[in-house]
Each structure stands twice: as C-alpha cells, then as structure tokens.
Symmetry: D2
Subunit: 321 residues, 4 copies
C-alpha cells in the first residue's frame, strides 16, 4: 500500500503548478500519507534534493505564479544512468509513488522511468499551450490566455491610435488552442495557427479591403508554430503599405498569479492524483473531458497528437467580421 | 422564416454581456438577418428604444464590462399592459424573434412574454452567481470569481500583517458556487454558503485551535444568502478574542473587463443563440453541461433550483487544512 | 556611534512598507551596521520579538503588499510600563537607534518613547491617507489611489449600464487627498471631502440637471470623514428619484502589490532614514516636499494638521463639467 | 485675444494623452473658448481632419490608453509645403492657438511651425521615456514603469522557478529613467542604461559570485539604448554557464489604462496649458520641476539633453545587494 509519495514539477513553469502541489500535499496528508517535495524536477531526484512537506510548507502558495519546488529540463534523466541515480534516491527515502506535474516532455520522461523501474506514477498535465492529448485542459492555459488578452488590450490602444496592423506572436508550436482562445477573446481580426495553412496572399487582400473600408486597425495573433513573424510582418507592410508592427509575447506568458479557473482545476487534479496514487491507481494522467475529470493512459497521453476544435476556428472567423 | 431579430440585456449587468451581444449581432449579420438592439432591457421594448445594429456598432466592445445596450429592472414589463406595449413596438419593427440575455428574473419575464404572444425567444444565461438551472455556466461568473480572488489577495496582505480574521461577503443568495469557487481559488480558510447550515460555534472552535497553533490569520468567505455578516463578525470577535474585521464586496463584482473564459463562452452562446433562433429553434436557453453547449427548456430553466457540487464543498474543506 | 539599529512597522499596514524595510536593511548592511527586525510593531518591542535581518531576509519582498514584519495597534505601548519593557528589550540587544514606519499614531508613540528614554528614532511616514504634516507623500498612498481608480472603472461599467448614481466611500477621515486624487483620476462627477462642507441640496440639484441633460450616470467619491454614506445615498435617491447605490471600499485599500511610485519612494525614504540614523541625525521624519526629500521635526509632524491642495479641489470641479 | 484653440497628439501614443486632451478641452470650454480636435497629429492639420469638441466628446476617455484623437509620425509636416497646408487649414477654422501633446520630435515640429508662422503653441510633454529636458515628468512614464514592473513580477516567477538569468529590454534610448525606475521598483539585480558604460565583464563576474552564493536567479533590465540585448544574453550565457534568457517589452509599454499619477498630472498639465494659451502665454512647454508645475521655453526643451538622477543609479546598486 502506497503511503509515502513524492511530488515534482518539470519542464517549463506554468501558473497553477503551486496550486497542484498544494492539493497533492494536503490531500495526501489528510489521508495520513507522507509527502516528499522534489526540487528542480527530475534533476532533484538525481541529486537527492528531496525534503518532507507539511501543511505549512504549501501555505500562502496558491496565489503565486511559477513553482516553489523549482523546475528544470534535465538531459541527465534521459540517460539510463541518470534514471538509475534517481531510483536509488527514491529507494533511500522509501518513496513508493510519485505525482509528476508538467508537459509533454515531462510525461515522456515519467513514462520511461515508470516502465523501467515498474514505479507508480500519476501525471498532472501542466502547459500553457494546452497540448496534451486526451484532456481539454492543462494547468496554466487559462492564465496564459488571460495574460495575452491583457496584452492585446494594451496593443489595441496603440494600434487604434496609430491606425496600425500589429502582429503578435504567442506560444502554440504544436497546437493552436492558446492563440485561438486569446484571439477570440481579444477580438483579434485574424488568428494564424499551425493547424490551418496560412494564406498570406489572401490575408493581405483582406487587410487591404478592411482598411479601405471603415476598419482603422487590425490585430493579428500568430502561433509560434507558424511561419516566421518577421516575414509575416514584412510581407504585410510591403504589400498593404499599412503601418505594420510586430511584437513577441514570450516568457511573461509563463508567470503571473494564476486565474480562478487554473487554481480550482489544478486543485481538483492534484486532489484526484493524490487519491488515485494512494489507492493504487497509477500510470495515468488526470485531465478534463468536457468538464468531467477523466484519466488518460500515460502511454496514450504521450503517443497521440491533439487536434484543434473546429468550432473555435469557425467562431474566430465569423466574429471578426 | 425568422430574418429580423432583436437582442437585449436585462436585470443586473454582468461582465461578458457585450461579448454575447456582439456574437449574436455578427452571427445574424453573417446569416443575412437584420439585428435590432433594444436599450435598457424590457423597458426599451416598452418605450421603443430600438435601433438597428451593424457590425461596427459592436466593434471595440468585447473587452468592456457592463452592457453597452444598457439594462434595467422593469416592473412595467410584469404588467399585461406593459407587455402589450412591448409587443406593439416589436410588431412595428417587424421583429420576429428575440435573444434575451440575463438572469433568473429576466428568463421569467421572457417566458411570460413568449407564452402570451407566442413569440420566439432564445435565452442566454448571464449572472455572476451562476444560479440558472440546467447549465454549469452563466456569463459573468468567471470574471466575478477572479475579481473576488484579486480582492482576497489584497485582504490576505492585510490579514497576515495584522494576524487578523477577515470575513468577506460576496454574492450567493440562492446558490453557493461563486463563494465556493473564489474561496477554493483564494485559499480561504472557510467558505459559508446557503446550502450548508453554518455552525458558528464549531467555526469559532476551529478558529481558536488554528490560531493557537501555527496559523496567524484566516480569511472567511460568506455568501450573502447566509446569516448577517455583522453578526458573524461580532460573534467571532467576541468568542475568539481575535482581531476580526468584515468587508463587503458588492457592486464591483458586476463590472470590469471580462476574462477570456467569459468572453469565449459568451461568444459561443451568442453564436448558438442567433443560429438557433434564425433556424426556427426557440423557447430555449443555451448553456453548458460539462463543457458541451446544451439547450434547456425555458420552462425548466425558470422552474428548477440548482444544487451545489458536493466535490467543491469537500475540496474547499480538505485544502484549507 | 550608532551601528546597531532596529526597524519596525506599526498601525495599519500600507503597500510599500516592505520596500521601506528592505531599503533600511540593505542600506544599513551596506554601511556595515547590524539590523534588527521587530515583529508586530511596538508590541514586538515589549514582548521581545526581535531578530537579526540579513540581506536574504528582505529578498523577494519589495513586490508584496502588507508588511512581512507584521504590525499592530499596541495600547500597552501607550503606558509607561509598556514602554519600559520595550526599552529593556532594546538594551538587551544593544540596539542604539530605530527606524519607525507608520502613520500619525505611530509617530506620536515614537515621539513619546524617544523623549522618555532619549532614544534615537527616525520616522518614515506610511499611510494611504497621506495625512502626515510636512510631507507631500506618505508610503502607500499611490497604490491606494490606483486601487480606488480600478474599482471606479468597474463601478462605471455598472453605473453606465444601469444609468445609476453610485456613491463610493473611501478613506479620508482627516484629510481629503486620497478621495480627491482618485476622484480626479477616476473621472468622478463629485468628490466630497472633510475640508469642504457638503452642500447636499446643491448636489441634488446638480445631479437632477445633469441627468435631465445628456449625462446618464454619475460617480460620487466620498471621504469617510464626511457625513454618513447611507444618509447621502438615501437623500440622493429620494430627492432625485434616480437609481442610486452605495459601495464602501475599505480593507482592500490597504493591501495589494505596491505601485512603482510607492516602491521607489519607500526605497528612497528607507535609504535616507538608515543613513541619517547611522550618521547621528535623528528625531526626524523623512518626507517629500515638492519631490525633494526633506526632514521634518518629529514634534512638528505630530502636532500639525495638513491642509488640502486648493488646486486639486478646483481641477476636480472644472474637469467634471 | 485667443478664443479658438486646437489640440492634437503626435508621435508615439502614451497613456494619459486622453486625460490631457480632456483637461485642455474642458478647461477651455469652462473659459468660454472653442476647442478643435485635430485627428492623427500634424497629418490631420495638413489634411483638414479637424472637428469641434464639446464636453461629451471627451467623456468616458480619461481611463483609456492611447489617444482617441489618433496620432502619427508625419514626414510631410517636416516640409515647408506641408506646414503651409497646415497653416491654411488653421486659418480656415480661425484657430488662433494650439496645444500640442507629444515627445521630443513633436516639440521640434511645433517649434518650427510656431517660428515660421508666428503661431501661438503650448506644449505638453508626453513620452514613456521621460526624456524631455526641463521637466521631471512626462505624460505616460508612470504607467509604462508600472507595466514593466508587472511584467517583471511575471518574469520573476519564471526566473526563480528555473534559477535563470532573465535579461529584459525596455525603452530608454536617450535617457535611462524608465529602466532605472522600473528596475529599482521591480527589484532587478542590475540595470543597464545608456548613461553608464556597461562593463559586461564585471557584470559576468558579479553574476558568477551571486549565483555561487545564495542567489538563485537574476533579473537584468536593459535600456534599448545600450548594446544589443542578444549579444548581452549570449555573452552572459556563455561566460557564466547559467540558464540565461532574453525578453523584449516593446509595444505593450505604450498602451494600457493610465495610472492615477499619469491621469492627475496629465490633467493638471492640460489645464495649465489651456489657461496659459487663453491668457496669451505661449511658445512654452508645461512640465514639473520637483512636483511644481513649471514652464520651459520651447526652444530650450528642444535643444537640451536631460541627464539622469545620480541618486537613482546609486540606490539601484545598493538595494540590489
């Protein structure tokens, strides 16, 4: 019976990770289990940066961005030797299960380790890009979308004052949810995502028509998985002769106090993950399917590619008319 | 065939109403229908404050709180004579269907009118309290929850600096979702809602224990449907001898730029409402069930009482440990 | 020579206090002095809650609201016996000077103690009401003004949606700066402050005229030093027949991440206070006069009453036309 | 006697410009003068986009970023022919004075025009860089500094979670006030400005020492007037072997709802500018010297270079220890 669990965050940091750690910890403590906090992701497993967590340790954390445990990308964990060291430290502390919070790469690492050492792991998907297969939601995506919309509000002031076209790049290399959600909410005129081939020529024609008519400015949201933003900006400027600028929103999307949605859902996923692990249910990832909490096989989560909601694409186009 | 629709907002204003109006308008225009904007809710129907909306009219509105059409509580619409005047004005403009955006009272008024004159109406539920039966979500509730959490962040600064107990009142007369969601997300120590009888004596005992131990401050979120906040505050102060303060968050919860969630969902509901009405589907309310867009019979929406999610109550208790 | 100083915060908490503590601490450490942090204001002196601060102790604090040292109102310090205990603890740690951060009441307590024991004290004025004589600025007032304006933005959404009059109460018992600054910045139609006798009859007449003309809503900011807000609200509602609501902004004005202005100025005052004390200059309060950092005699700061800037009153009236 | 004035915004847009336009307009109306709003800066003068403003026209604008009149960079105004057209349109509307709101380039254009046609102009300095000679303050700089600090808060989450060095570029080509103020307030470890030669070698040494000791992350704010941010980032990464990232904050610094400070000061400058012009005082720029409103000769404002406050440089260094 599992009574001694570890929790770690790995990969990029995402708002709501602290809420998930807190929920895992307090739920496990409530169930009379021990909880170990691993610092700096898989690297902390390898270098034995592992300490016991009590209720106070996760106090005053839910409202903070980032992850108080620290996180990292850990190439050493991709080697057999690295994982061996990690397992030795896990044994040393008699840890018999682990909750792993992170994105796609993290889940792959967790899968490898779990297979190799037959070690119980439960995953909580956390990435602002919302690109984990099998779940509608990943921790951090709501906060990042709101951060983009707040930036779009500022950019709209500037675009409308100068009658500009502003092209904004945001995360979305594999999956267009974040640019789409932020673009719909921010009232962007166009959203370019990797799932839909960008027809730059048509975009230019549309922009010309709009600006010849009443429209005096345009905001274009571009996923970083599309073609290069400088090229897009330059093409639009040259072809339309409109005052065109580009702006890149990068690191700031990973920080900031999480929204209510990210806190509540991270809390729910954390609670479910801890309860599952403690009751012997593992090698799964917890997620949401249509607002229901569901479990996804770790193998499936890692080996499938998510497809974007066609409804979002359609509504983004109609409402921007 | 319906080709001439009206849209109005009624009752209290809620963040996201503008996104819903915009989506109704642009979707209907895309479908080659005419759209009339009614000012100040049902009152505008009665006094013929009705004007045509084009695409520009709803431009630069999605990011704004409140409702640019205006809203009101309209006692005159509760009289047969009032509704008769309303119907005459509707006929005058050859309007043959209407989207009504508002809360419980608004839906009741819409139902009455629709029955009386056999007039096609589609409802979009909008209320920060999220208290409409048949839907998990109502327009404005996510923004209001985030506004509360931002206030709780400020209050936590003050509570922890002074080692205080702060009791915060928020909307939730009939349904405890808003205080629960905000309380979980804000890391509140206790959440008092109308669905669970408040045991003030036990609360006082718990507070004493906590503050005798490590805990140096407590935030308590109270729905305005519970017993009087002054009484709660006074009882806690007298019984625990702790420095106890109360604060009421009222009108500010109705304003403010809507969150991404409220904008995207209000847009989706607005689009669906317009499409339904134009294709001859009416006397329904659009809502979300587990993240799927669903329709609720207007009659059912009006005559049933929502019950709170037990999971929320449980998680609020466990995570506050 | 003073080489061993204490720092404390007392009275209400105010945004920027942490920036001041940090600046005092790091400046003193830079000058090779020892710095003691006193918890919970004068109460911590009496109960010997006094610990050494190093550079790390004030790390990651500048962006936080409240005061990490804690604060309190301490009646015991108003007694000779209380102050005697405080002095004994100060001697115990060989502390030979103290920086005291707080408002009017705090400065009075500091003056008393300094006189009684001939003990070197330097004050930093901190209060959201900006009501310390001899300085144009007190720590926290800029953040509080911005918090009010953000609330006014939300209230404007609601006021304009409903064509309401909203009366908002904010701090300003002795001095009208905060309501005036927030009212000017928030575009309030009227600002009522203790320095100007409220002519409710004239206000009602003006409101009637405005709302009869184009104006569809009004925001009125009231200092809590004026007559009772419920009475004001009731009178306006009855006399104008306009939809009138009241809202009280209280505890939330004391919390929240400080603005740039509060952080920079609190830092500058903290640095000057530490340098002065270490170089043997004391029984003064540091403040700003027309943007220059100045010193005010502790006696004068405590015994004079500030008067409001007539320019502010005039501009508030002209710009609201 | 001047009774017929124009107002325009020119160059980049800055938060608070709307507050200045509103104050100019309402003050002039209060003094029974006519006010003409010129669209899109000097370009609107040339193309006769000039319309009368009444009190309602500037209503509901004070809280908005950008400039509702529009702005532009206008090369045509740099030609004699362009200015001739502008003057003809001014005569056409019998305009006998003008308030010009903008930065350095705008003031230069205004000076040229004023000299050439002996036309009365009063300037209001507006630029987020705060780089106009003769005034401590320019409209927009407080909002921009707060926007940077909010971004630094998010970046700190990410930097501390990953133990990173993050280098952030902000505006400050000619003058280091903005990076310094934001850096001090944001608790940045280093601030690089054009006024102080960057010693990258020393910076690298310091970073190594810090990170070898307790410090786990560093934020470095760089003015865009310093050497290239990519080079800085690359050098730090290579020399320190620390995880180093760069991020550029550009267009978002120009938008957003203005702070209280920017609104109040823009209002005061707008009022003074209108009053001066109407009473026959012109060819001056209004600014602040140590919190007093002062006038600067337009010639001097244009031909002098501002120097940075040494106190700021010192405090930035000491407090980052």
């Amino acid at each position: 019976m599992i009574k001694n669990i570890a929790v770690l965050t790995s990969g990029t940091d995402n708002p709501g990770m602290n809420a998930a750690i807190r929920a895992v910890t307090r739920t496990a403590l409530f169930e009379k289990a021990k909880v170990w906090g691993v610092q700096d992701g898989f690297y902390g497993l390898i270098s034995d940066k592992i300490t016991l967590l009590d209720s106070i340790a996760v106090s005053d954390k839910i409202q903070r961005g980032g992850t108080f445990l620290g996180t990292s990308f850990c190439p050493e964990f991709e080697t057999m030797q690295g994982r061996k060291k990690a397992f030795e430290n896990i044994k040393k502390h008699s840890i018999d299960g682990m909750v792993v919070i992170g994105g796609d790469g993290t889940m792959k690492g967790a899968k490898l380790f779990s297979d190799e050492y037959d070690f119980p792991i439960v995953g909580i998907p956390a990435t602002i890009e919302n690109d984990i297969w099998g779940t509608d939601y990943t921790v951090g995506c709501d906060t990042a979308a709101n951060t983009i919309v707040q930036a779009l509000n500022k950019l709209r002031d500037t675009a409308s004052s100068h009658r500009r076209v502003i092209v904004v790049e945001v995360a979305g290399r594999r999956y267009g949810w974040l640019p789409l959600a932020a673009g719909i909410a921010g009232g962007a005129e166009y959203v370019l995502i990797p799932e839909v081939k960008t027809d730059l020529k048509k975009l230019v024609e549309n922009l010309k028509k709009r600006h010849a008519a009443a429209k005096t400015y345009s905001l274009i949201v571009v996923a970083d998985g599309c073609s290069d933003i400088s090229t897009i900006g330059k093409t639009i400027a040259e072809e339309t002769k409109l005052d065109t600028r580009i702006s890149v929103l990068d690191l700031i999307l990973h920080g900031g106090a999480p929204t209510v949605n990210d806190r509540v859902r991270a809390s729910q996923l954390g609670e479910k993950a801890a309860l599952a692990l403690l009751s012997g249910l593992y090698n799964i990832v917890f997620g949401y399917n249509k607002n229901d909490i569901v479990t996804i096989n770790l193998n499936d989560a890692v080996n499938n590619k998510k497809t974007v909601d066609e409804e979002y694409i359609r509504i983004a186009q109609i409402l921007a008319q």
